[in-house]
């Protein structure tokens, strides 16, 4: 398997899927220049009809995406930063998420919305949001969050091939992460979590930008506490792999959910609720949530970084779950 960077894997998936279906188009702010690198080279390869810069008009960008998709195109709108989802939100929440139901199922809306999410880089409050809660609550859209180059490629392919509006949320600042990526058609099925590390004492449930530090935390737990932690990467937030979550906690009896969302109504709190409802008999301890406090992201690193989940916070939370073994 060739080794490549996260952003190259996304770029390769976009190119392969645009090659595969000539009705697929890519539109958005600066998709030609591509500040993240994910859409680089696609204009030259597929031409100005299929790869178009849009003005900074998010209401129109999302509305056009819904309209073009309802009329036979497979549309990939690039929102740049996830905070810009808010400026284009009517066509997301009221159109993409609802037109199929309102039409009685007459149409499909094959749309893949790309947006870069997350904090930690001093981009301040309006370029740092993790909009999982907002999107997963809509019901009419799918949401995927890649964590490594291989599933970045696989999830992008699955998102583009889906006949439903699907959000592909790129973890901010992770474009340079390298990893092995399968050649050609590697589609990661939507709605399937993956076990990244096996363990028997504790489930660390996470996604996207949080997986790397969660794996680090799992190693520390092994060496520092002798705790065997399983790491479950959700990959897809809608549909959510409830079966895998319950199976993992069935094996371990304990869960910590690591999520870059603000805590209120986060993916972490939703997973905790599922475990309380359906996994109660497995649980040997309360479910812990490692999230961002209900605060907007400040600019100064000294104020921003402590708000984000960290391996340190995960290890501390785990220690509280194993009071006897903790040293």
């Amino acid at each position: 398997m060739p080794r490549m960077r996260f952003i190259q894997a996304i770029n390769q998936a976009l190119a392969e899927e645009m090659e595969r279906d000539p009705r697929t188009i890519l539109i958005g702010e600066d998709v030609e220049a591509s500040i993240f690198g994910d859409t680089r080279g696609l204009l030259d390869r597929f031409g100005a009809d299929r790869v178009r810069n849009t003005p900074i008009s998010e209401q129109a960008l999302t509305g056009i995406s819904a309209g073009a998709a309802a009329c036979g195109c497979r549309v990939i709108p690039h929102m740049m930063f996830s905070n810009f989802i808010y400026t284009g939100f009517d066509a997301i929440a009221n159109q993409m998420a609802k037109l199929r139901l309102m039409s009685g199922g007459q149409i499909t809306l094959p749309i893949t919305v790309i947006a870069n999410y997350g904090g930690g880089r001093s981009t301040a409050a309006q370029h740092s949001d993790t909009p999982f809660s907002l999107l997963t609550n809509l019901a009419g859209v799918e949401v995927v969050v890649p964590s490594t180059p291989d599933n970045a490629k696989g999830l992008m392919k699955a998102a583009i091939r889906s006949d439903n509006p699907t959000f592909f949320l790129e973890p901010g600042g992770r474009g340079g992460d390298a990893g092995d990526v399968p050649i050609g058609d590697c589609v990661t099925p939507l709605g399937e979590a993956r076990v990244m590390r096996e363990g028997s004492d504790l489930s660390l449930i996470t996604m996207g930008s949080m997986t790397r530090m969660t794996l680090l935390a799992a190693k520390r737990l092994e060496t520092e506490l002798g705790v065997s932690a399983e790491v479950l990467d959700l990959q897809s937030l809608v549909p959510l792999d409830t079966t895998a979550i319950l199976a993992s906690v069935g094996r371990t009896g304990r869960a910590i959910v690591v999520d870059e969302s603000r805590d209120a109504c986060s993916v972490a709190s939703h997973v905790a609720a599922i475990l309380a409802d359906k996994g109660f008999d497995h649980l040997k301890a309360p479910v812990q949530r490692i999230t961002v406090p209900d605060t907007a992201m400040p600019y100064a690193p000294s104020a921003e970084l402590p708000l984000l989940p960290s391996a340190e916070r995960i290890v501390s939370a785990a220690k509280a779950l194993f009071p006897v073994t903790a040293k």
Binding site: Q59, G63, I64, G67, N94, M102, S103
Partner: protein
């Protein structure tokens, strides 16, 4: 352009067909107003009575393959685009046999197979969708046109500027049709709108027609030019049609308003310019048909509506799990 430059007239057959369709809209909506009072509809309706000539005049120049986006006041657009009246009544009665299986209701009656890319309850949301339909049409290259119906209220959404800019920049085949009925819900246009709405398209280099929306011939003649402009690949066009809705913003407004927001005199003045009556007078004046024949057309429309009521009433309630299954494809 204040109005169409030409004086071309629809031939008798076209005029009579437009009259028939206007009658079907008028009679359907009169029936729906009664249905709301009878409790036959689970929700309320937003009627377009008085605005029929705009929907009919524009859609007469559209083909089945052309798209429109419709609004919360969309029964007229739906019927003007040639969609089934039975399926519309069943939809508004909340039945599984409705065009949207009872999932949309009055505000969202749309037959996508006839090119209706949604009837929207969000004022102005059709602007982006129609622009997207225009983009799909341009990429397809077969000369399809997307017409966007929106009101004077929607003209105050910022997305109008966004969509005028993009559709002109990309030369998309989008026909913007502003049905200016003088009211943004319950606010007179003059209290919420500055300037002339159609002037907003001019700086983008988009050709503009400002017309009498209660004159179906004027609308038809304008559509002939405007649709042709879009179809030829020359880019978008913009029509502002001045019109009026008699029944108000929605069917239960008398119950929620403490005082009327418009005068009886104003309503009567507009009724004197009624588009259906004017079309009938034109037909008689031209001797395209006589009184008895016009009478027969009315009875035919009545019969269609009667059949639609029966079809809707005989429909079945959708199963409780229907919405879950329809939310996402493949679920």
């Amino acid at each position: 352009m204040a109005a169409s430059a030409s004086n071309i007239q629809p031939d008798d057959g076209v005029l009579i067909e437009m009259y028939r369709r206007m009658l079907l809209i008028r009679k359907s909506e009169e029936q729906l107003f009664r249905d709301v009072k009878l409790g036959r509809t689970p929700g309320q309706v937003h009627l377009s009575d008085g605005q029929e000539a705009v929907a009919i005049g524009i859609c007469s120049l559209l083909e089945d393959r052309d798209q429109i986006t419709s609004t919360h006041r969309g029964h007229g657009h739906y019927l003007a685009k040639g969609c089934d009246v039975n399926a519309m009544f069943a939809e508004i009665y909340g039945k599984a046999e409705g065009i949207c299986r009872g999932m949309g209701g009055s505000m969202h009656v749309a037959d996508y197979s006839k090119g209706i890319v949604g009837a929207n309850g969000i004022v102005g949301a059709g602007l982006g969708i129609a622009t997207g339909a225009g983009l799909a049409n341009q990429l397809e290259g077969e000369g399809r046109v997307a017409a966007c119906f929106f009101g004077d209220g929607a003209a105050n959404q910022g997305s109008l500027m966004e969509c005028l800019n993009i559709s002109s920049l990309w030369r998309l085949p989008v026909l913007f049709v502003c049905e200016n009925n003088g009211y943004s819900e319950f606010s007179p246009s003059g209290t919420v709108t500055s300037g002339v709405i159609s002037d907003r398209a001019k700086p983008f280099g988009i050709p503009v027609w400002n017309i009498d929306g209660n004159d179906v011939v004027d609308v038809w003649r304008t559509a002939l030019e405007a649709v042709d402009h879009c179809r030829s690949g020359a880019g978008p066009a913009f029509v502002e049609a001045r019109t009026y809705r008699y029944s108000g913003h929605f069917s239960a407004e008398a119950m929620v308003l403490s005082t009327p927001y418009r005068s009886d005199e104003e309503i009567e003045a507009w009724r004197a310019r009624d588009p259906v009556a004017r079309t009938r007078a034109l037909i008689i004046g031209r001797e395209a048909a006589n009184d008895a024949e016009c009478e027969r057309m009315e009875l035919e429309a009545d019969a269609h509506v009667e059949g639609a009521v029966a079809f809707g009433e005989a429909g079945t309630a959708p199963c409780p799990g229907t919405a879950n299954r329809l939310m996402r494809a493949g679920s």
